[in-house]
Every structure is written in structure tokens, then in C-alpha cells.
Amino acid sequence: MSEITLDGLAKRYGEELAVEDVSVTIDDGELLCLLGPSGSGKSTTLRMLAGLETPTDGEIRIDDEDVTDRPAYERTTATVFQDWALFPHKSVLENVAFGLKMQGVGKEERRERAREMLERVRMTDHADDDPMNLSGGQKQRVALARSLAVNPDVLLLDEPLSNLDKRLSEDMQIELREIHAELEETFVHVTHDQDEAFTLADRIGIMADGNLVQVGEPNEVYQNPKNRFIEGFLGDTNFVEGVVDRTSPDAVRVETELGREVVVPTSNPDALDAGDAVSLSLRPEALSIESADAGLEADEAGQPVRTDGSTTNSVVGTVESVLYRGSTVRYSVAVEGTSVFAERTVSDSGEFETGDEIRISWDGADVLAFRDDGSRVDL
């Protein structure tokens, strides 16, 4: 059992602030992904956890024991590094046995245990190889085995998959999940790749500018991003800028750059006032497209009404480009001088072409709104 608590963790290099304030509790046996763009402080946070950097401020506790000032070699953490950092003058087996050697385990026993670890990552055949002759994926497995061999309370992974090609990286993600499930140890995994984080994580912690912005289960973080940065970082989306025109008890009407009002239903009409600047996020998966002449009736306020009677938002635009991205097709549509994109699966692509007039429509309830300071509007 290893529960980790970070409390007000900060790291400064001279004037430069790498980590400003990170506080989070990582549960025993949890796999937490720290996700953020480069320079967000996620690797520095991990290195402080490992004991490779001394925090300028704050506290780290592992199982309620303060380890903030404890050097790396006295911590029960083990790290898998981005470039794997295998010892070049030692064989694969000696690499894996190194941690046990440092613990004072006898030669025979540590070789045997190292062999077991290599078996777990299916690298037994390479036990006597020079690690420098291995492929990236093989090095990654050896690095993993080397860290697991010391039976750490916490395994720290510092973007270990970022140097692998996409296919290999995806295979390794699945393998990592399996190993995590089997060992029931606490893992902290740092990555800049959203897909990787969503595949692996029990919880995701999103970092930006040295701060932990939001922590939550993947689904929750995706559905309920705390601010505009997270919404933009987690996936491609359309941000539409606008100004609140008027609010009513159950809806906010926003005058947008799309040249028409967007109606967002709300249960909290006091959240915004007329004249507030807002960004609306229209996620591509929430947009449906159809031929512009597919008839829609307008209600008395001029809002289109679906055939089933529900109100909806829609705009008409011209297809600018059609991009085939494997299993999906992305349509980029020019609307009133800006550009909106929508996606369809290939089988359901509707076969529109560049120059076609199409209608994009969405359910107002799928729209997320952000204030101009980036914070999310709770509608």
C-alpha cells in the first residue's frame, strides 16, 4: 500500500518557475497520468517525486511519511526514463539486476530474479545482449524490467513511450495496463499524448504552466473540462467567439462570429450577463452535417426546428476541404469568414465535396462556454 501526497509542491530554477503549486493525493494502486504540453512542469513534478530534484517549496509524503528531503537512492520509487537510460557497459541482465545489487542481494539470487523480470517483459532471449544493440521497444521493456526488479512502492514513468513509433507505443500502452493490473502498485505516468493518457489512466492530472489544473477520471475530465486550455488540449475543437446578447431563465443567447445567434440552454442563467464575452466550444463529434437544402422549418423566433419539434442550432457554409484521416473524414467548412470543422466516420461520410453547401447543426446542450479569462461557465 502506497499512497502519495503532494502538498504545495514548487520548484524554481533561479528566476524561472518550473512548478508553481502542485497538490494532489494519489491513491494506493492507482495509475495517475500527468498530462500536459512540454514545459508544463509535469516531468519536474515526477523528478521531485523520484528524489532527483529537491523541491523549492512544499512537501511529498509516501504513506504518510515525509520524504521531501530524502535522496533518490533512499526512496522506494523507481523511474522509467524517457530515453530509458540503460547502462551501456552492462549486459541486459546486469542492467535489470542492478537495483538488487544495490540492495545487497547476492549474485545468484539477483540474477535469478532479474531473469524472472525479463520473462515478464518477454526479453529472456536478450539477457546477455549489449543494451545499446536493442531496438527502442526492447530497450523500453528492459528499462521497465529494471525498474520493476527492485519491487518499488511507486513506479514513475517519464514519457517512456514518446520515443517509440505510434504502433509500438499503442502496444506498450496495453502491456503497461496489464502489468499495472497484475502488480496493483501505484503508477505515476507522465505524458504529453492525450490518447496515451486516456488509454492508461485511472485518473488524469492536467498540468499547465507549472500548475495542476484539473484532476479526475478520464471521462470526467473530458466531459467537464475546467477551463478553455483543457478543452483545447484534450482534443481538436471549434472555438467560436461571441458576446452574450441576452439571457432568459432557461437559455443564453450568444451573438457569434458565425453570423448568427447560438442558443445554449442553461439552468443557471445568472452565470452570464448581457455583454459578456464568451468562447463557445463546438466539438466536432457533436456536430451533424447534412445537405443545406434538407428542409428545416423555422419557429417564430427564427430558430430552426427539427422535424421532431426540438430546437437546434445550425449554420450553413461551404465545404473548403475534405480530409481523409484513416477511419474518419474531416470537413472544413467556411462560415461567415471563419472556419468550422466537423467529422464523420468514413462509412457515414455523406460524400460531400469541396464547394458543396452544407448545413451544420448541433444540440445546444453539447456546447461548452468559457469566459474570456479562460474559466468555464457553469451553465
Binding site: 523520484a50 528524489g51 532527483l52 535522496p71 533518490a72 537512492y73 520509487t77 523507481a78 523511474t79 526514463f81 530515453d83 537510460a85 540503460l86 547502462f87 551501456p88 557497459h89 552492462k90 549486459s91 546486469e94 542492478f98 537495483g99 545489487k101 544495490m102 540492495q103 545487497g104 549474485k107 529494471r146 525498474s147 527492485v150
Partner: protein, 306 residues
């Protein structure tokens, strides 16, 4: 050029063409030739002559008897206690100085590698400046420092660490200190140049896996730096065994090889002995450097401290 050779007769053109193909390597050869000739004339030839003179017999009124063949020189070296003592003393100095030099050099090179900014520049400067300063200057500064009335003894006396002055200079301790000072810059740079290509991440990995800081240096840094350490050892040993300046200025009665061979060559004019002595010394050095290198190479991989 193409204009001229098109008018060449066919047989000559047939020879010329492949030569032209090889013109790049021919030009390269031409560029390397001067240095090659220089090395042959100024390095290889002198050694062959040295070898030849070592095989002549002695002469009463000349430096050696030209044209004769004899092993007298070698016989003298192998039978003379004085000459052998000097060699033994030289090797003793060489081994001690090398051991001290290489240990300090590993530490200092590591410190330079880890240092940043102004400290790194200062440390590098402290190595390069003595390196580019003449042996004479480097050695004689130790006389006012280490003599019985010198600075170090004053310090030791005032701190009550010793009751009477210690005679470091002239003496073997002074020679060793001076010799370490002479070769240390070369040893540090040889090791530093290897370390500077090393990835700090693997040292972090070792610490992460439970190696304390001294242990991580021993387990990871030293084996990785072994090529540099071998170069440092070879240079330190070769130059310390052949040391001339430090013993010349700082030694007392015991005389090493360099001083003895100088005496035979310049004062006694016994060239057959001096040259045979130099040849034997060179062979012994080559053999011991070979042994040292092989021994150190075995430490390049996995080894046991525990």
C-alpha cells in the same frame, strides 16, 4: 585538363584514366606525405640509429666505436647496480605518481563535468594554465613551498601539527608532489573529454535504483570513463617513469633513470651504455603499460565491489 588528355595516344590514356579516377586519393596521399616523411626522418630514423648505437662497443676517446657490433652496453646495464637502482626508483616514482594522479584526476574531471557556469570555467582554466606552463616553472615553485623553511612547514608548525620541519624538498615526497602536478592536467583532460560525452541520465538512473552518490560514481561513472582513465594512466605512467624535471630540481640523493642516462650521455660520453639503457627502459615501459592497460580494461564492464 580534359582537353589535353583527349589528344593523348590510346595506350597512355588507358593508364591515365584509372589514375585520374584515383586522383582524389592521390591528392590525399600527396597532402599526407610531408608529415609522413617528417615522422620517418625525425622519429623513426633517430630510433633506429639509437638502436644501432646501443649495439656498438665502447670507445676510450670517442662517444662510441662506430661500425662495431657488440652487446657491451646491454651487459653493462644488466650488471650495473647503479643503473638498475635508478630504473627501480623510476618505476617506484612512476607507480606512486600515477596512482595519486589518476585518483585525483577522476575526482576533478567529475567535478568539472558536474560544474556549471563560472565555476566550470574556473576549474577548466586551472587545468589548462599549468598545462601550458613550462615544466621548469611548475617544478621549482615547490621549493619555496615545500622546503624545511617553506610555506607548508610554516603552516604545519604554526598549527602545531608537527614539532619540527619536515624535509619534503629535496626528497622523494617533493619529487612525487612535483610530478603529480606536472601530469595532472593531462590526466584530468583525458578523463574529462570522455565524461563530457556521457549521459548524466544513467547516473540518475543508478541513484534512482538505490545507488548512493559515491556508489553510483564507482558503478557507473568509472566504468564509463575507463577509456579516458586508461589514456590518463598511460600518459601519467610514461611521463613519470621518464621524469627529468621534477627529480632534477626536487630530489635528494636517489637518482632516477632520466638523470642517470643524461649523465652517461652528456658527462661520461658512454653512448653505447646510454642508448642501451634507453632501449631497455623503453621496453620495460612498453611492457608495463601493456599490463596496466589490460588490467584496467577488465574493469570496464561489470565488476564486484561488494
Amino acid at each position: 585538363m580534359s582537353g589535353t588528355h583527349s589528344s593523348l595516344p590510346a595506350p597512355i590514356a588507358r593508364v591515365w584514366e584509372p589514375l585520374r579516377e584515383r586522383s582524389r586519393s592521390k591528392r590525399a596521399l600527396l597532402l599526407m606525405a610531408p608529415l609522413l616523411v617528417f615522422e620517418l626522418l625525425l622519429f623513426v630514423a633517430p630510433f633506429l640509429i639509437l638502436l644501432r648505437i646501443s649495439l656498438t662497443s665502447g670507445s676510450q676517446d670517442l662517444r662510441y666505436a662506430a661500425g662495431t657490433w657488440s652487446l657491451e652496453g646491454y651487459a653493462e646495464v644488466l650488471s650495473s647496480g647503479v643503473l638498475q637502482d635508478a630504473i627501480l626508483y623510476s618505476f617506484k616514482l612512476g607507480l606512486i605518481a600515477t596512482g595519486i594522479t589518476v585518483s585525483i584526476a577522476v575526482f576533478y574531471a567529475y567535478a568539472i563535468w558536474r560544474a556549471e557556469g563560472a565555476i566550470k570555467s574556473a576549474l577548466l582554466f586551472s587545468v589548462i594554465l599549468p598545462l601550458l606552463t613550462t615544466l621548469v616553472v611548475k617544478t621549482y615553485a615547490f621549493r619555496p613551498l615545500l622546503s624545511p623553511t617553506g610555506t607548508v612547514n610554516d603552516l604545519l608548525l604554526s598549527l602545531n601539527l608537527v614539532s619540527e620541519p619536515i624535509q619534503f624538498v629535496p626528497g622523494t615526497i617533493g619529487v612525487i608532489v612535483g610530478q603529480v602536478y606536472i601530469v595532472l592536467p593531462y590526466a584530468v583532460l583525458a578523463i574529462y573529454s570522455v565524461l563530457s560525452t556521457m549521459d548524466w541520465g544513467i547516473v540518475e538512473a543508478a541513484r534512482d535504483l538505490g545507488a548512493s552518490r559515491p556508489r553510483s560514481v564507482l558503478e557507473i561513472v568509472v566504468p564509463q570513463a575507463m577509456p579516458g582513465i586508461i589514456v590518463a594512466t598511460v600518459i601519467s605512467f610514461a611521463w613519470s617513469v621518464g621524469a627529468y624535471a621534477a627529480p632534477g630540481l626536487l630530489a635528494s640523493q636517489r637518482v632516477p633513470f632520466a638523470i642517470e642516462v643524461e649523465k652517461r650521455l652528456l658527462s661520461n660520453l658512454q653512448w653505447e651504455i646510454a642508448t642501451a639503457y634507453a632501449v631497455i627502459m623503453l621496453l620495460l615501459m612498453a611492457a608495463s603499460i601493456g599490463v596496466l592497460t589490460v588490467t584496467l580494461n577488465r574493469f570496464g564492464g561489470e565488476f564486484e565491489y561488494a
